[in-house]
């Protein structure tokens, strides 16, 4: 959340750098079955973001100390490829990827019926191939589709999307410049069929009105993305 510099992210007519209006979502496309050896997989292209999620399991949880006698555990690993951004990312886990892995697992655990697979582990691998902004949202959304593709029983799919504030204007689905130079962002994980919330983070400051506006944008964007998720599952891929 920079706020520094003199980057004009939105013009006087409300048109953003990439030509979108403030309530518009970047183009989203999803395909399933992109990793044939996995039990389920999905690829999401969301603006310039490109993310692959693969699901393996349920399988025996190793090491045994992570086993839970009454449910399965979700072992989520979020990783950004070294070439995914203009600055090379040092390979391996870091504090950010650990945090995102944790919040992703917690968001997905609220929909997956883990109690059907005691002592098991469901492995979810999320790899960001190309990053623009909102990679955690792309990761959660792709992981949701991959879990559904793997036939893991779940009460709903999680759609994640982030809105934020740029030059005191609330905009939907931030792009890279807005993410870097904006004043706030609000990623949310939404269950589209019930409108419930399973994940929420906020970086920066939003007034109650701005928060409500960002919330509404996210809810509307979730419907658009959910349609694409359903389309991918019902018709696309192997």
């Amino acid at each position: 959340m920079g706020g520094y510099g003199d980057v004009q992210c939105i013009d006087e007519n409300g048109i953003r750098l990439d030509g979108r209006t403030k309530d518009e979502v970047r183009p989203v496309s999803i395909e399933t079955g992109v990793v044939p050896v996995a039990d389920g997989s999905a690829r999401i292209r969301w603006g310039l973001n490109d993310c692959i999620a693969a699901v393996y399991g349920p399988m025996e949880a190793h090491p045994r100390k992570i086993q839970r006698q009454d449910r399965a555990v979700l072992d989520v690993r979020y990783n950004m490829a070294p070439f995914s951004t203009t600055d090379r990312i040092r390979p391996g886990f870091n504090r950010r990827s650990r945090e995102i892995s944790k919040v992703t697992a917690e968001a997905l655990e609220s929909v997956v019926l883990t109690e059907l697979y005691p002592r098991s582990k469901i492995r979810v691998e999320i790899e960001i191939i190309c990053a623009e902004a909102g990679t955690r949202c792309a990761g959660i959304t792709a992981a949701s589709v991959a879990l559904a593709h793997a036939g893991i029983p779940m009460t709903d799919m999680v759609v994640s999307v982030a809105s934020g504030k740029v030059h005191d204007i609330v905009v939907c689905d931030l792009n890279k410049e807005e993410d870097n130079y904006g004043e706030a962002d609000l990623p949310m994980g939404i269950l589209p069929n019930t409108g419930e919330l399973v994940f929420l983070q906020m970086d920066g400051d939003l007034s109650p009105d701005q928060f409500q506006e960002a919330w509404d944008y996210n809810m509307e964007a979730a419907k658009v993305i959910h349609e694409e998720m359903v389309r991918a599952l019902k018709g696309g891929g192997e």
Partner: protein
């Protein structure tokens, strides 16, 4: 980005193209996890369906069926969950002095105690009977609440598999492989002159001469491709 129509029991009618509750040979009603399938009042929740607050909710991606008032989902992918008396094909993955560990395609390996093995084995010498990597035809004897299972090789036809090949298919497609009254399976056996044993865990043992096995394998793949296309409403 138009999504497919959401299958709901209470919005199905001739007017919207759904044609009422499904009969066979109609276009499949595909669902995704979380889809609302209608009021649970008159219907019972079957496989892949959960009743939440009086509404039926899909838990899996697949095809919705409504048979005898029970709404269920034929999933597109499944993992095998063992049940007692299932006939399964497993691979020996490891052993101790008196127990074999068998990979039956479930989340957990099953155990095969020495006493339930194919022949008499000496304590500490069980690898002489079944070694790691061997394929076996066995039956699930017991499944515990925590998904541990015990398999047995005591029973008619249960044996170590020493010839032929083992193919794998998704367990939910076994019904299509076997067919009504076992017709498809019988036809496959007759036309390829192969021994075909379909395990409940989706592993199929094909045994015969090489041409027969290749033929049977091709037919198996063709049948499954056809089933997958049919499931999702394409042309076969």
């Amino acid at each position: 980005m138009k999504g497919g129509s959401v299958a709901r029991l209470d919005n199905m009618s001739g007017d919207n193209g759904a044609g009422g509750p499904r009969r066979s040979r109609q276009a499949p009603l595909l669902v995704a996890p979380g889809d609302d399938l209608g009021d649970s009042g008159e219907y019972e929740a079957g496989h892949g369906v959960l009743a939440i607050n009086g509404r039926l909710r899909a838990l899996k991606q697949g095809r919705m069926n409504n048979r005898g008032g029970t709404v269920s989902i034929e999933p597109r992918r499944t993992s095998y969950v063992p049940r007692p008396s299932d006939l399964v094909i497993g691979y020996i993955e490891g052993c101790t002095s008196n127990i074999w560990f068998v990979d039956i395609g479930a989340p957990f390996n099953a155990i095969l105690p020495m006493s339930l093995g194919p022949s008499k084995a000496e304590f500490g010498g069980i690898r002489k009977v079944l070694d790691i990597g061997d394929a076996i035809l066995c039956r699930v004897q017991e499944v515990e609440e925590n998904h541990s299972s015990v398999v047995t090789m005591k029973g008619m036809g249960l044996r170590a598999i020493r010839a032929g090949t083992v193919e794998e298919i998704d367990p939910h497609l076994l019904g299509r492989l076997i067919g009504r009254g076992g017709n498809n399976l019988r036809q496959l056996k007759e036309e390829t002159e192969c021994r075909v044993v379909a395990g409940d865990n989706g592993r199929v043992w094909l045994d015969g001469d090489l041409d027969g096995i290749i033929n049977a394998r091709d037919r198996l793949n063709a049948l499954l491709t056809e089933a997958k296309i049919e499931e999702f409403g394409g042309e076969v």
